[in-house]
Symmetry: C2
Subunit: 153 residues, 2 copies
Protein backbone atom coordinates (compact mmCIF):
# COMPACT_ATOMS: atom_id res chain seq x y z
CA UNK A 1 0.00 0.00 0.00
CA UNK A 2 1.29 3.38 -1.04
CA UNK A 3 -0.67 6.18 0.71
CA UNK A 4 -0.46 8.50 -2.33
CA UNK A 5 -1.54 5.97 -4.96
CA UNK A 6 -4.99 6.00 -6.57
CA UNK A 7 -4.71 2.32 -7.55
CA UNK A 8 -3.85 1.34 -3.97
CA UNK A 9 -6.98 3.24 -2.88
CA UNK A 10 -9.07 1.12 -5.27
CA UNK A 11 -7.44 -2.11 -4.11
CA UNK A 12 -7.95 -1.29 -0.43
CA UNK A 13 -11.62 -0.49 -1.01
CA UNK A 14 -11.22 3.22 -0.23
CA UNK A 15 -12.48 4.00 -3.74
CA UNK A 16 -15.01 1.83 -5.54
CA UNK A 17 -15.28 1.42 -9.29
CA UNK A 18 -18.80 1.01 -10.75
CA UNK A 19 -19.93 -2.60 -10.25
CA UNK A 20 -17.07 -3.39 -7.85
CA UNK A 21 -14.47 -6.10 -8.31
CA UNK A 22 -14.89 -8.48 -11.28
CA UNK A 23 -12.00 -10.76 -10.38
CA UNK A 24 -9.32 -10.88 -7.74
CA UNK A 25 -6.63 -13.33 -6.73
CA UNK A 26 -3.41 -12.87 -4.76
CA UNK A 27 -1.67 -11.20 -7.73
CA UNK A 28 -4.11 -9.31 -9.98
CA UNK A 29 -7.47 -7.53 -9.71
CA UNK A 30 -9.96 -6.65 -12.47
CA UNK A 31 -12.65 -3.99 -12.23
CA UNK A 32 -14.23 -1.11 -14.10
CA UNK A 33 -12.46 2.13 -14.77
CA UNK A 34 -13.48 4.67 -12.12
CA UNK A 35 -16.52 6.86 -12.82
CA UNK A 36 -17.28 8.61 -15.05
CA UNK A 37 -17.26 5.58 -17.37
CA UNK A 38 -17.10 7.02 -20.88
CA UNK A 39 -16.88 3.77 -22.87
CA UNK A 40 -19.14 0.77 -22.00
CA UNK A 41 -17.06 -2.08 -20.56
CA UNK A 42 -13.85 -0.06 -20.10
CA UNK A 43 -11.96 -2.14 -17.49
CA UNK A 44 -8.70 -1.86 -15.57
CA UNK A 45 -6.44 -4.80 -14.65
CA UNK A 46 -4.49 -3.84 -11.52
CA UNK A 47 -1.46 -5.49 -9.98
CA UNK A 48 -2.35 -6.17 -6.33
CA UNK A 49 1.11 -5.15 -5.10
CA UNK A 50 2.32 -1.57 -5.39
CA UNK A 51 5.02 -1.86 -8.05
CA UNK A 52 5.72 0.78 -10.67
CA UNK A 53 7.58 -0.97 -13.48
CA UNK A 54 6.76 -4.06 -15.53
CA UNK A 55 10.43 -5.02 -15.38
CA UNK A 56 9.97 -5.54 -11.62
CA UNK A 57 7.10 -8.06 -11.83
CA UNK A 58 7.78 -11.24 -9.86
CA UNK A 59 7.88 -14.48 -11.89
CA UNK A 60 4.45 -15.42 -10.46
CA UNK A 61 2.92 -12.05 -11.35
CA UNK A 62 4.35 -12.25 -14.87
CA UNK A 63 3.13 -15.82 -15.36
CA UNK A 64 -0.43 -14.91 -14.33
CA UNK A 65 -0.72 -11.68 -16.35
CA UNK A 66 -1.50 -13.16 -19.77
CA UNK A 67 -4.26 -15.38 -18.47
CA UNK A 68 -5.94 -12.46 -16.66
CA UNK A 69 -5.76 -10.29 -19.78
CA UNK A 70 -7.08 -13.13 -21.96
CA UNK A 71 -10.04 -13.87 -19.70
CA UNK A 72 -10.81 -10.16 -19.35
CA UNK A 73 -10.89 -9.77 -23.15
CA UNK A 74 -12.96 -12.94 -23.54
CA UNK A 75 -15.53 -11.75 -20.98
CA UNK A 76 -15.83 -8.31 -22.61
CA UNK A 77 -16.19 -9.99 -25.99
CA UNK A 78 -18.96 -12.29 -24.76
CA UNK A 79 -21.03 -9.39 -23.38
CA UNK A 80 -20.30 -6.52 -25.79
CA UNK A 81 -18.61 -8.10 -28.86
CA UNK A 82 -16.68 -4.94 -29.84
CA UNK A 83 -14.77 -5.09 -33.17
CA UNK A 84 -11.45 -4.66 -31.29
CA UNK A 85 -10.20 -4.56 -27.70
CA UNK A 86 -7.24 -2.33 -26.83
CA UNK A 87 -4.90 -3.35 -24.00
CA UNK A 88 -2.39 -0.79 -22.78
CA UNK A 89 -0.14 0.09 -19.85
CA UNK A 90 1.47 3.54 -19.80
CA UNK A 91 2.16 4.13 -16.10
CA UNK A 92 2.42 7.88 -16.46
CA UNK A 93 -0.19 9.72 -14.36
CA UNK A 94 -0.67 6.65 -12.14
CA UNK A 95 2.55 4.66 -11.82
CA UNK A 96 1.20 1.58 -10.00
CA UNK A 97 1.13 -1.16 -12.69
CA UNK A 98 -2.27 -1.38 -14.38
CA UNK A 99 -3.58 -2.21 -17.85
CA UNK A 100 -6.40 -0.37 -19.58
CA UNK A 101 -8.67 -2.86 -21.36
CA UNK A 102 -10.81 -0.77 -23.68
CA UNK A 103 -13.54 -2.14 -25.95
CA UNK A 104 -13.29 -0.19 -29.21
CA UNK A 105 -16.95 -0.28 -30.20
CA UNK A 106 -18.26 -0.01 -33.75
CA UNK A 107 -19.37 3.59 -33.19
CA UNK A 108 -15.90 4.72 -32.10
CA UNK A 109 -13.12 5.87 -34.43
CA UNK A 110 -10.79 2.92 -35.12
CA UNK A 111 -7.11 2.99 -34.20
CA UNK A 112 -5.18 3.92 -31.09
CA UNK A 113 -5.19 7.69 -31.69
CA UNK A 114 -8.88 7.79 -32.63
CA UNK A 115 -9.88 5.93 -29.46
CA UNK A 116 -7.64 8.08 -27.28
CA UNK A 117 -9.05 11.32 -28.68
CA UNK A 118 -12.62 9.97 -28.50
CA UNK A 119 -12.26 9.26 -24.76
CA UNK A 120 -10.52 12.56 -23.99
CA UNK A 121 -13.15 14.50 -25.91
CA UNK A 122 -15.94 12.81 -23.95
CA UNK A 123 -14.12 13.47 -20.68
CA UNK A 124 -13.86 17.14 -21.59
CA UNK A 125 -17.60 17.32 -22.39
CA UNK A 126 -18.37 15.58 -19.08
CA UNK A 127 -16.23 18.07 -17.16
CA UNK A 128 -17.97 20.93 -18.94
CA UNK A 129 -21.27 19.71 -17.50
CA UNK A 130 -22.58 17.19 -20.06
CA UNK A 131 -22.98 14.51 -17.35
CA UNK A 132 -25.33 12.45 -19.54
CA UNK A 133 -22.35 11.50 -21.74
CA UNK A 134 -21.23 9.00 -19.06
CA UNK A 135 -22.44 5.39 -19.42
CA UNK A 136 -25.62 5.23 -17.36
CA UNK A 137 -25.73 1.48 -16.73
CA UNK A 138 -21.99 0.96 -16.13
CA UNK A 139 -22.48 -1.18 -12.99
CA UNK A 140 -25.00 -3.40 -14.79
CA UNK A 141 -22.59 -4.00 -17.70
CA UNK A 142 -19.83 -4.82 -15.20
CA UNK A 143 -22.13 -7.37 -13.52
CA UNK A 144 -22.68 -9.04 -16.90
CA UNK A 145 -18.93 -9.08 -17.62
CA UNK A 146 -18.27 -10.52 -14.15
CA UNK A 147 -20.74 -13.31 -14.82
CA UNK A 148 -19.05 -14.05 -18.17
CA UNK A 149 -15.61 -13.91 -16.53
CA UNK A 150 -16.64 -16.49 -13.93
CA UNK A 151 -18.00 -18.83 -16.60
CA UNK A 152 -14.91 -18.59 -18.82
CA UNK A 153 -12.06 -19.08 -16.38
Amino acid sequence: MNPNCLTCEVLSGKRRAPGGTIFQDALWEVGSVLAPVLVPGYLIVNLRRHCEDLKDLTPDEAAALGSVLRTTCAAIHRVLAPPRIHVASYGEAIRHIHFHVIPRHAGMPPGSLGTELYIRWRRLLYRMGRKAIAVGNAAEIVAQIQDAFDRIR
Copy 2:
Protein backbone atom coordinates in the same frame (compact mmCIF):
# COMPACT_ATOMS: atom_id res chain seq x y z
CA MET B 1 1.09 -18.02 -41.76
CA ASN B 2 -1.41 -15.61 -43.23
CA PRO B 3 -0.25 -14.43 -46.69
CA ASN B 4 -1.72 -10.94 -46.23
CA CYS B 5 -0.25 -10.29 -42.77
CA LEU B 6 2.70 -7.95 -42.19
CA THR B 7 3.56 -9.63 -38.87
CA CYS B 8 3.63 -13.06 -40.53
CA GLU B 9 6.05 -11.59 -43.08
CA VAL B 10 8.35 -10.49 -40.25
CA LEU B 11 8.11 -13.87 -38.51
CA SER B 12 8.86 -15.78 -41.72
CA GLY B 13 11.90 -13.62 -42.45
CA LYS B 14 10.39 -12.02 -45.54
CA ARG B 15 10.75 -8.64 -43.85
CA ARG B 16 13.57 -7.83 -41.46
CA ALA B 17 13.40 -5.34 -38.62
CA PRO B 18 16.59 -3.36 -37.84
CA GLY B 19 18.96 -5.57 -35.83
CA GLY B 20 16.93 -8.73 -36.49
CA THR B 21 15.37 -10.96 -33.85
CA ILE B 22 16.13 -10.18 -30.19
CA PHE B 23 14.36 -13.22 -28.76
CA GLN B 24 12.31 -16.08 -30.11
CA ASP B 25 10.81 -19.24 -28.68
CA ALA B 26 7.94 -21.43 -29.88
CA LEU B 27 5.33 -18.90 -28.74
CA TRP B 28 6.61 -15.30 -28.90
CA GLU B 29 9.16 -13.25 -30.82
CA VAL B 30 10.75 -9.91 -29.92
CA GLY B 31 12.36 -7.51 -32.38
CA SER B 32 12.58 -3.86 -33.35
CA VAL B 33 9.71 -1.98 -34.91
CA LEU B 34 10.19 -1.94 -38.70
CA ALA B 35 12.15 0.93 -40.22
CA PRO B 36 11.93 3.87 -40.01
CA VAL B 37 12.61 3.62 -36.27
CA LEU B 38 11.43 6.94 -34.83
CA VAL B 39 12.06 6.26 -31.13
CA PRO B 40 15.31 4.58 -29.96
CA GLY B 41 14.57 1.07 -28.64
CA TYR B 42 10.96 0.90 -29.89
CA LEU B 43 10.32 -2.87 -29.93
CA ILE B 44 7.48 -5.18 -30.97
CA VAL B 45 6.53 -8.43 -29.19
CA ASN B 46 4.86 -10.70 -31.76
CA LEU B 47 2.84 -13.86 -31.18
CA ARG B 48 4.46 -16.55 -33.35
CA ARG B 49 1.09 -17.97 -34.42
CA HIS B 50 -1.31 -15.97 -36.57
CA CYS B 51 -4.12 -15.19 -34.13
CA GLU B 52 -6.06 -11.95 -34.07
CA ASP B 53 -7.62 -11.67 -30.61
CA LEU B 54 -6.10 -11.85 -27.15
CA LYS B 55 -9.15 -13.82 -26.01
CA ASP B 56 -7.98 -16.65 -28.31
CA LEU B 57 -4.49 -17.08 -26.82
CA THR B 58 -3.74 -20.66 -25.82
CA PRO B 59 -3.01 -21.25 -22.11
CA ASP B 60 0.69 -21.69 -22.96
CA GLU B 61 0.82 -18.45 -24.95
CA ALA B 62 -0.96 -16.57 -22.17
CA ALA B 63 1.31 -18.01 -19.49
CA ALA B 64 4.45 -16.96 -21.38
CA LEU B 65 3.33 -13.43 -22.31
CA GLY B 66 4.03 -11.67 -19.01
CA SER B 67 7.55 -13.01 -18.75
CA VAL B 68 8.39 -11.92 -22.32
CA LEU B 69 7.00 -8.42 -21.66
CA ARG B 70 8.86 -8.19 -18.35
CA THR B 71 12.20 -9.24 -19.83
CA THR B 72 11.71 -6.91 -22.82
CA CYS B 73 11.08 -3.97 -20.48
CA ALA B 74 14.03 -4.94 -18.28
CA ALA B 75 16.38 -5.14 -21.27
CA ILE B 76 15.25 -1.75 -22.62
CA HIS B 77 15.65 -0.27 -19.14
CA ARG B 78 19.18 -1.62 -18.80
CA VAL B 79 20.32 -0.10 -22.10
CA LEU B 80 18.31 3.12 -22.35
CA ALA B 81 16.81 3.75 -18.87
CA PRO B 82 13.80 5.74 -20.14
CA PRO B 83 11.58 7.34 -17.44
CA ARG B 84 8.63 5.16 -18.54
CA ILE B 85 7.98 2.25 -20.92
CA HIS B 86 4.59 2.00 -22.64
CA VAL B 87 3.20 -1.44 -23.54
CA ALA B 88 0.17 -1.57 -25.82
CA SER B 89 -1.77 -3.87 -28.13
CA TYR B 90 -4.45 -2.32 -30.37
CA GLY B 91 -4.73 -4.81 -33.23
CA GLU B 92 -6.30 -2.32 -35.60
CA ALA B 93 -4.20 -1.78 -38.75
CA ILE B 94 -2.37 -5.09 -38.17
CA ARG B 95 -4.61 -7.63 -36.49
CA HIS B 96 -2.03 -10.37 -35.77
CA ILE B 97 -1.45 -10.15 -32.00
CA HIS B 98 1.52 -7.93 -31.17
CA PHE B 99 2.51 -5.54 -28.39
CA HIS B 100 4.23 -2.22 -28.92
CA VAL B 101 6.93 -1.71 -26.27
CA ILE B 102 7.85 1.96 -26.46
CA PRO B 103 10.50 3.64 -24.33
CA ARG B 104 9.13 7.07 -23.42
CA HIS B 105 12.40 8.97 -23.22
CA ALA B 106 13.00 12.11 -21.15
CA GLY B 107 12.86 14.31 -24.25
CA MET B 108 9.42 13.04 -25.28
CA PRO B 109 6.09 14.45 -24.08
CA PRO B 110 4.83 12.32 -21.16
CA GLY B 111 1.54 10.44 -21.31
CA SER B 112 -0.11 8.17 -23.84
CA LEU B 113 -1.47 10.92 -26.09
CA GLY B 114 1.77 12.91 -26.06
CA THR B 115 3.81 9.87 -27.07
CA GLU B 116 1.33 8.88 -29.76
CA LEU B 117 1.32 12.36 -31.30
CA TYR B 118 5.11 12.61 -31.02
CA ILE B 119 5.59 9.41 -33.03
CA ARG B 120 2.96 10.31 -35.63
CA TRP B 121 4.44 13.76 -36.09
CA ARG B 122 7.91 12.29 -36.64
CA ARG B 123 6.49 9.76 -39.11
CA LEU B 124 4.84 12.57 -41.04
CA LEU B 125 8.11 14.53 -41.17
CA TYR B 126 9.94 11.39 -42.33
CA ARG B 127 7.42 10.83 -45.12
CA MET B 128 7.75 14.44 -46.16
CA GLY B 129 11.44 13.82 -46.78
CA ARG B 130 13.11 14.50 -43.41
CA LYS B 131 14.83 11.08 -43.48
CA ALA B 132 17.40 12.16 -40.86
CA ILE B 133 14.63 12.12 -38.23
CA ALA B 134 14.85 8.29 -38.12
CA VAL B 135 17.14 6.74 -35.49
CA GLY B 136 20.48 6.28 -37.28
CA ASN B 137 21.94 3.54 -35.08
CA ALA B 138 18.75 1.51 -34.56
CA ALA B 139 20.40 -1.87 -35.29
CA GLU B 140 23.23 -1.11 -32.87
CA ILE B 141 20.78 -0.25 -30.08
CA VAL B 142 18.87 -3.47 -30.80
CA ALA B 143 22.12 -5.45 -30.51
CA GLN B 144 22.70 -3.92 -27.07
CA ILE B 145 19.13 -4.71 -25.99
CA GLN B 146 19.51 -8.26 -27.27
CA ASP B 147 22.66 -8.66 -25.21
CA ALA B 148 20.86 -7.36 -22.10
CA PHE B 149 17.86 -9.60 -22.82
CA ASP B 150 20.08 -12.70 -22.96
CA ARG B 151 21.76 -11.79 -19.65
CA ILE B 152 18.47 -11.11 -17.83
CA ARG B 153 16.34 -14.11 -18.76
